[in-house]
C-alpha cells in the first residue's frame, strides 16, 4: 500500500514527523492518499499520522485541498459522485472503508464552516444524532442533551428555551449548538472545518476555548484559514499547498523554524 519512493520524498519534506515511531497514541494513519474530483487531482500523495488527544491544525491557501482532506476522514466526500480516492486512511489501524459508514461518522464528528442548525428545535438538534443511533427514551435523551449543552458552554443560555427553533439563536450560539450536536453522539474525533469563519471575535474565542478543553477527551482536526488561530490552539500544524502536504510539525516549530521555504512564506503571509 505504501509507495517507498513516495515515502522517501515525504521524509525529505517533513522529516521530523516520520522519525517518531508509531506509538499507541496514533489515531489516524494515512498512506499515500490521492483524491480526484473528476479529472482534477485535489490531494496528492499525502502520508501522515494524527495522534490522539491532540489538536492538529491544517492550514493552507484556498484550494489547497485541506477541506477535502478533512472530509475524506469521515467519508463525506463520497456524497460527490465524481469522487475518486486511492491510498488508505486507517482509524486505529482499521481501514475506514471497512467500517460501516454510519458508525464511522458517529465516531468522527464534524463541525462545519457556517453554523448549520437543522430546522428543528434546540433540543431536537442536540438529540438528533442520539435518536438516529437508536436512543428513544425521553429521560435518557434529556440527560444527554443537558450534559452536552453544558460541555459546549451553552446550557445556561438556552435551558429555558429548548423547544424554540434553533434558528432563533445568535450565530455564535448556533455554532456552539452545532458543536453540542456533534458531541452528543460521543465521537472520538471531531473535525472542525473553519468553524469560526462566520463568527465575531468574542464568539471565536469561546469556540477556541471549548476546543482546547475538548482535547482531553477527543482528537481534534481543525481546518482553518486563520493562521493565528492555528498558532493559538494547535498542538501540531500541517501545511497543505496544491493538494500536497508540505510540512507537518509541532505548531511552534512550524511558526518559528519551518523546514520548507513555502511554509515559511505562507505563515509569514507572503501568499494565500
Amino acid at each position: 500500500m505504501v509507495n517507498p519512493v513516495r515515502n522517501k520524498k515525504l521524509e525529505e519534506t517533513s522529516g521530523r514527523n516520520n522519525q517518531e515511531t508509531i506509538s499507541n497514541g496514533v489515531k489516524f494513519e494515512i498512506h499515500d492518499l490521492n483524491i480526484w474530483f473528476g479529472p482534477a487531482q485535489v490531494i496528492k500523495h499525502v502520508n501522515m499520522e494524527i495522534r490522539s488527544n491532540e489538536i492538529l491544525s491544517v492550514i493552507g491557501p484556498a484550494n489547497s485541498g485541506k477541506t477535502t482532506f478533512l472530509r475524506a476522514l469521515n467519508r463525506l466526500n463520497e456524497l460527490n459522485t465524481n469522487y475518486r480516492i486511492t491510498g488508505a486512511i486507517e482509524l486505529e489501524r482499521e481501514d475506514i472503508r471497512g467500517i460501516k459508514v454510519e458508525e464511522l461518522r458517529r465516531k468522527i464528528g464534524m463541525v462545519f464552516a457556517l453554523p448549520l442548525p437543522l430546522p428543528l428545535s434546540i433540543f431536537d438538534n442536540v438529540a438528533y444524532g442520539i435518536r438516529m443511533h437508536g436512543e428513544r427514551g425521553k429521560k435518557k435523551l434529556e440527560e444527554k442533551v443537558e450534559e452536552t449543552l453544558r460541555q459546549a458552554y451553552l446550557w445556561e443560555e438556552v435551558k429555558d428555551r429548548l423547544s424554540e427553533s434553533a434558528f432563533k439563536l445568535s450565530g455564535g450560539q448556533q455554532q456552539r449548538l452545532c458543536i453540542a450536536r456533534t458531541l452528543a453522539v460521543r465521537p472520538e474525533v471531531v473535525l472542525f472545518d473553519e468553524p469560526c469563519s462566520g463568527l465575531d471575535p468574542i464568539s471565536t474565542a469561546k469556540v477556541e476555548d471549548a476546543m482546547v478543553k475538548f482535547k482531553e477527551k477527543f482528537t481534534i482536526v481543525l481546518v482553518t484559514n486563520n493562521v493565528k488561530q492555528a498558532a493559538r490552539v494547535g498542538d501540531k500544524t500541517a501545511f497543505f499547498l496544491n493538494g500536497e502536504l508540505v510540512e507537518l510539525d509541532k505548531t511552534d516549530r512550524i511558526f518559528t523554524a519551518p523546514q520548507d521555504k513555502r511554509t515559511d512564506g505562507y505563515v509569514r503571509g507572503k501568499f494565500g
Binding site: R105, R106, G109, H133, F167, C178
Partner: protein
C-alpha cells in the same frame, strides 16, 4: 419609424395587446360561468340525482363520482410519485439512466389524454378485467398525473438545502434516516402543492375516463370500486352535446361546479406555496 423610441412604443403596444388577448378572454370565460352558473346553484342542485333524462334534478352522483375518482387517483399516484421523486432527487446520479427517466417523465406528461383513455381501456378494463369502474378510472388518471406529482415533489425535495443532508449524514444518520427526518418534513408543503395541482387536473379531465369509468346516466351512487360512476366533466360533456333540450341553467350550473372545484384546488395549492415561501427559515 426612424426614431427608436417611437418604434419601441409601437412594439410595446403590440406586446400589451397580445397579453390582453389572452387575459381578457380568460376573465370573460370565468365571468360568464359565474354569472350564469351561480344562480343555478342551490342545495337541491347539489344534492339531488339527475331527473327527466338529465333535463332536471341535480348532479349529486356526478360530484360523488368525481370525489371517488380523485380519491382513488391520489391513493395510487401519491406514493409512487413521491418515491420516484425521492429517487430522482436523492439517489440517482447524472447518467444515462437519469436522462432516460427524465425523458420518460416528459413524454408521460405529453401523451394525449385520450391516449391515456385507450391505454386504461386496454390494460385495466380489458386485460385486468376490472371493467369500466372507479378502479380502472383512478389508475388511468393516476398514471396521467404522475409526471405532475414527480416534477413538483422533486423540486420541493431539491429545495431543501444540501447542507442539511450533510449535517445529518455527518452525525452518522443513514441515508434513509436523513431523508425521512430532515428532507421530507421540509418538503411537505411543496409536495402538497404538487399533489393538489395534479388532483385538480385529474378532477377536470374527461378523455381518460370516457371508456374506463364514466357512466352516461346512473342515478344511484356507486357502492364499490368495481362500479361505474358518473363524473362531473363527463356529465358536462353529455348534457352539452348528447342530450338535446337541456336547460341552459343546468349546463352552466354543472360547468360552474366543475370550474369551482378545480379552481379551489388550484387556489389552495397556491396559498400553501405562498405561505411556505414566507415561512421558510433558510
Amino acid at each position: 419609424m426612424k426614431n427608436p423610441h417611437i418604434t419601441q412604443n409601437i412594439a410595446f403596444f403590440f406586446l400589451f395587446l397580445a397579453t390582453l388577448l389572452i387575459v381578457v378572454p380568460v376573465g370573460f370565460i370565468v365571468f360568464v360561468i359565474i354569472q350564469k352558473g351561480l344562480p343555478a346553484i342551490d342545495w337541491q342542485f347539489l344534492s339531488d340525482i339527475p331527473r327527466h333524462g338529465m333535463r332536471a334534478g341535480g348532479i349529486f352522483p356526478a360530484i360523488v363520482g368525481t370525489v371517488y375518482l380523485v380519491t382513488g387517483t391520489i391513493i395510487f399516484a401519491l406514493p409512487i410519485g413521491l418515491l420516484a421523486a425521492i429517487y430522482l432527487s436523492e439517489y440517482s446520479k447524472e447518467n444515462l439512466l437519469m436522462r432516460l427517466i427524465k425523458l420518460a417523465i416528459v413524454n408521460l406528461a405529453g401523451v394525449p389524454s385520450v391516449v391515456y383513455g385507450l391505454f386504461g381501456l386496454a390494460l385495466f378494463v380489458i386485460f385486468f378485467k376490472f371493467g369500466a369502474s372507479i378502479l380502472s378510472g383512478s389508475l388511468t388518471l393516476g398514471i396521467m398525473i404522475l409526471p405532475i406529482i414527480i416534477t413538483t415533489s422533486r423540486e420541493a425535495l431539491e429545495s431543501v438545502p444540501y447542507s442539511f443532508r450533510e449535517v445529518s449524514l455527518s452525525l452518522g444518520a443513514s441515508k434513509w434516516q436523513t431523508i425521512r427526518n430532515i428532507v421530507l418534513p421540509n418538503a411537505v408543503p411543496g409536495i402538497l402543492t404538487g399533489t393538489i395541482l395534479g388532483l385538480g387536473r385529474a378532477a377536470g379531465e374527461t378523455a381518460p375516463i370516457l371508456f374506463t369509468v364514466a357512466a352516461f346516466y346512473l342515478p344511484q351512487l356507486p357502492s364499490s370500486i368495481f362500479d361505474q360512476a358518473m363524473a362531473l366533466p363527463y356529465h358536462l360533456y353529455v348534457i352539452s352535446t348528447q342530450v338535446p333540450n337541456v336547460d341552459e341553467k343546468i349546463r352552466y350550473g354543472t360547468a360552474f361546479v366543475l370550474l369551482a372545484l378545480v379552481l379551489i384546488m388550484n387556489l389552495v395549492a397556491i396559498i400553501i406555496r405562498y405561505k411556505f415561501r414566507k415561512r421558510k427559515k433558510w
